[in-house]
């Protein structure tokens, strides 16, 4: 999962670079750059999730604290 997240981060950046190089018209270029950023955000979410503490631990703690 962690590796997949980092690969998505790199892929999103690749999409951004490709949009800059290959697309000359501003609207499609902007759309593809934003799509690349969205892919990066997906990757970031994956990486963050792999670094969370186990869910069971957290929920038990929240219940005990009311």
């Amino acid at each position: 999962m962690k590796l997949a997240g980092f690969l998505l981060l790199l892929s999103g950046w690749g999409l951004v670079l490709s949009a800059v190089v290959l697309l000359a018209s501003p609207p499609p270029r902007a759309a593809f750059v934003l799509a690349g950023v969205a892919v990066e955000l997906l990757g970031l979410v994956l990486v963050v999730r792999t670094h969370l503490l186990p869910r069971g631990e957290r929920e038990r703690g929240e219940r005990e604290r009311g």
Partner: protein, 429 residues
Amino acid sequence: MTDAATTLCILFILLVPFAGAGLALINSGLIRSRSAAHSMLASLCAVAIAAGMYFVCGFAIQGYAGGPEHVFWIAGKPWSWLAAGPLFLHGVALNGSPASLVVWLEMFSVGLAALIPLGAGAERWRLSASCASAALLAGWTWPLFAHWVWGGGWLAQLGVNYGLGRGLVDTGGAGAIQVVGGLSALSITWILGPRRGRYALHGMPTALPGHNAVFVLFGCLLAWVGWIGLNSAGALLFAGVEPGRVVLIGVNTTLGASAGTLAVVLITRLRFGKPDASLSANGWVGGLVAGSAGCAFLTPVAAAVTGLIAGTLVIFAVELLELRLSVDDPAGAVSVHAVGGVWGLLAVGLFGHFPAGPGDGDQWLAQVIGVATLLGFVLPLTYGLNRLLNRLVPYRVAVEGERQGMDLFELGAGAYPDFMTHRDEFGQR
């Protein structure tokens, strides 16, 4: 550069070390007293190693606009990806020329970037490991991105080559210094894991308050002075603004920090009944960080709005990282420097006013591409390199070190030997 601009630039560069002193005090004040001396020594070592690595190879990678560089061509456009400068500053005349001023400012800037991860890894990051990581940051990651932004690299050339405004605008280093340092801090917290006892109660965070709010708040005032120097020198050297514009930069820097801290004071007062000193300090530095990118190109009102939003973002980012994402970051380095810096870069695209000239369109897109490069390239690179380094030089201190405190365990003496320390700080958790 005119003589007046050179003189002003030298004066402003002289102020930059105050920013480092401020960050070191903030990092030290926000942790427990049993690791305070360790934190300050780690700061000194990080600055020393960063300066050394920049001298050895950092400048060779970073270079300066118009200097020798490695370029490849894609679809008829040049992409400068790495400078081809001399190692050990060989042949660089340190005589007040623009290139020599770049060397001087960047040597201080890389030290500043190396200080940022120390706040995130405090109380559990071994001194030798933090030094090795600082060497990695100053010798490779930081100069590479700094070349792209400040050394005439491909991000700076997005305007000339692809009509995206003026290319990535990052006058005072919100991206090149702060976000690079902040993402390094995030990688370090992930690799180190939380402090012992931080999430002891079934994953819920336990408060481990800092030991000296006066250090923290005085550090904010020092950082303010340093940031004025950093932003002004950066604007003169990298944005080519006329000397008179430093007045606007000083006003904008102050307004950004003020709005950032006032936002946090107000929000914490409304939410918790009392203003929170450490979060307010984070809001101050968050405002400074966010204002760095566009300090020379924002109106004072826009600078204040940028700082206000930065302060608000910082407070919620601290909560999100600490409570929901299990990121134990004692100094709030990720929230302040990474989140604040990203917002600062985007704010230039939203609020920036530039003198009329070629490449007036799509400045926002250039800023988004800069942010995408930080997230999509710098973060994986930093994380990967630090993971590898962690195998060679284990980052995390032994359990006994966390129990005793880093001062006693690694330095053999506490920061405050004549004072009574809190007994519970030394208790087994």
